[in-house]
Amino acid sequence: MTFNAAALLILIAGLALIGWLVGRARSTLLARRAGTKLHSRPQYHGWYVALWLFAPATLFLALWVSISPAMVTNEVLESPAAQSLSAVGFERAAILSDARAVAQGKQQMVRMEKAAPLVQPYQQASRKYALIGVIAMFALALAGGLYAFTRIQPHFRARSRVEKIVMGALVLASLIAILTTFGIVLSLLFESIRFFRLVSPAELLFGTTWNPQSGAAVKDTFGGIPLFWGTVLIGAIIAMIVAIPIGMMTAVYLTQYAAPAVRKWVKPCLEILAGVPTVVYGYFAALTVAPALREFAVMLGISNASTESALAAGIVMGVMIIPFVSSMADDSINAVPQSMRDGSLALGATPNETIRQVLIPAALPGVMGGILLAVSRAIGETMIVVMAAGLSANLTANPFASVTTVTAQIVKLLTGDQEFDSAKTLAAFALGLVLFTVTLLLNIVALRIVKKYREAYE
């Protein structure tokens, strides 16, 4: 018997539904018997019972699901069959997981001989703990339900109780965002510190050779400059050369020149461009754009042009960013007060002079903020560069050469077959920390600029 958490959850939910009905009926009955009015409407009494039934039992279930595997393993290790196990941690863990897979029916046979005698104790222990868990959970559910049931009185303030619980749930939900942020920061920091014990931070940030060898932390192989340069070349230079003029001009045309009907149709089309998944862009870049660019480069007489080029990835990424830049520029231009535009036109300026000399300068802070956000998005983009930019770390300004980026290297470092604790996998987390810090700074600065600018015209 394995522990089927989903089925148990549904069962508890069913019990809670019964509790709701019982609580509601009970409160009406009591009120009628006492001849008084209820303080709270009957369904609040129902909710009160249902929540008391549901919440403690589910919390216990979550706790039990996370701790019972460890308890099962402990029990197995104490059984006589486990006394002959080797003390080497790695081998021991492999044997145990082998036995566990068979005991849970994920595997037909044991792969290692030594695991065979452990299957039986494993099954026994997991059955025992599953049984304990199920019984305890139901006991908890019934106890909670009974407690709430006995508290139902006509004058019982069920509504305020329920509302307090609801408020607690709201606070809890909004704390998840903080938890995620802390989770990201802590996990990145934790693994990065382990990496920096092997390789100094200065080497990662300023070294110029990136050539990680498997396993060991060889000196001068974790220099991040080629990656940072590749990231900047693709995300901040080539992509922006494509995205900023086209995005800005699109926004200007759509807000200032286009007829409302055109605008109504073109904007959703641009949104489609933003909704295309990055893996599709990556495939497109690798299959169509990169070969075409290579032919173009060969035609220009550049002999060392590679099929994976910074230019292909950068151009396609730029196209991906266009809708983003365009909508940011759109917002900023629309936020400029109409009176400024009218004033300029009234002085005899043509529309394009108004746009270039009044609107865009006035909208510039907002546009700059939008561009910073676009850069932060471009340097964090992964699939396009993984598929089209290549993985060789070159420190070159030639856009037809293959370069690599921070994100592409994170993927490469983590998708090989190495031990989790090797310098290579830890390096991925260190790169992630650099990426996170840079994008965070860009975002904070950009959001601050945009916010300040909005306030200026409000």
Binding site: Y257, V276, P277, Y283, G380, T439
Partner: protein, 418 residues
Amino acid sequence: MNKATSPTDWKGQAMQSRIARRYASERRFKLFGLAAVLISGAFLAFLLITMVGNGARGFTYTHVAVPIDFKEMPLSIDTNRLGDDDADQMIANAGLADIVAFASEEALGSDAASLISENAWKEVRTAIKDDPQLLNGRHNFDLPTSSAVDIAAKTGAKSDVSATVQQLKSEGKLSTGIHWPFFRNADATDPAVAGIWGALKGSVLTILLAFIIAFPTGVLAALYLEEYAPKNRWTDLIEVSINNLAAVPSIIFGLLALAVFINWFGLCQASPLVGGLTLALMTMPVIVIAARNAIKAVPPSIRDAALGVGASPVQVVFHHVLPLALPGILTGTIIGMARALGETAPLLLIGMRAFIGDVPGGLCSPSTVLPMQIFLWSDEVDRGFVEKTSAAIIVLLFVLLSMNALAIYLRNKFEKRW
């Protein structure tokens, strides 16, 4: 002083040429704007046309008619056991592959092995399981061809097999039709049997889990921040972290999931469970931001009216504000979910790039998702996978565009201007 040459004279030549220059620059500028719109539109059209052009062929496959006489080459199996779980194994053990290979050599010549797919006998097996009567006589089976033959037959491109394909075509033995295994199967190394169903199911499981987690928490968090939260350092911290999480690169969430869910909690690797949790964390801030905007749009008069007739603050929010904001919240949620559905990078890091030949059974079984399948196929050497990749892209884009269209429809139908 000659008035006609004064710089401010409207009719003067200097003024006229200056005006002409300014108007010309106006026209140029407008043209640049139009060009920018057209460039983005052209790129979108080019992308879609390339994908549809390549991918349309991916939905079809070429079959060759091969007669198999089961009287001459009997397949010795117990037909009563065809419904059992191990029927596939039983038929395989009885040597069906050899029979099919032999029959196709008789029909197509000595190089038949290179003309039909190595998995062709599996189609025969499916046919036998559906209709055991086939075993009693001689029947024509449409066997999937090898991917080289398939490409030659569909595109007419020159290759080693094009002469044979021409001959088979003139004999009327080849037929090209909709390839159902593409929608039915999981990944495989042979383009003749590789399908997207495994990836599609993985995607559905992952996205459902992400939705079940992210939607309620996102909406509750938004309600708290918008309706109840006091202005203090804590709520500022929550706000800042939500705004930043929405802009954190997706791959960072992959690192988080790898470090926390897989290495720390030890949840099942490459499973929809971990994938769904990761995407839930990623989409939650997006939902919160959309929900807050929708809640903000509900006019305060409604809250005041409800409070005025004696509703409690919780009742005001759950009975009035939330239902009114729900269309806006749903629109934002669908767009966020569509983005999560197209996401690949974080799932690469939690191991979903492994080759999975089975349709995932549950939340904890190893699986892949549709975008990942596209990524995996784009790396395949076999040329047959090029059109499969584009076909998978068409399916993915179709799903995403329908989701976005639904969101736009909801927005237009239920959006209220107060």
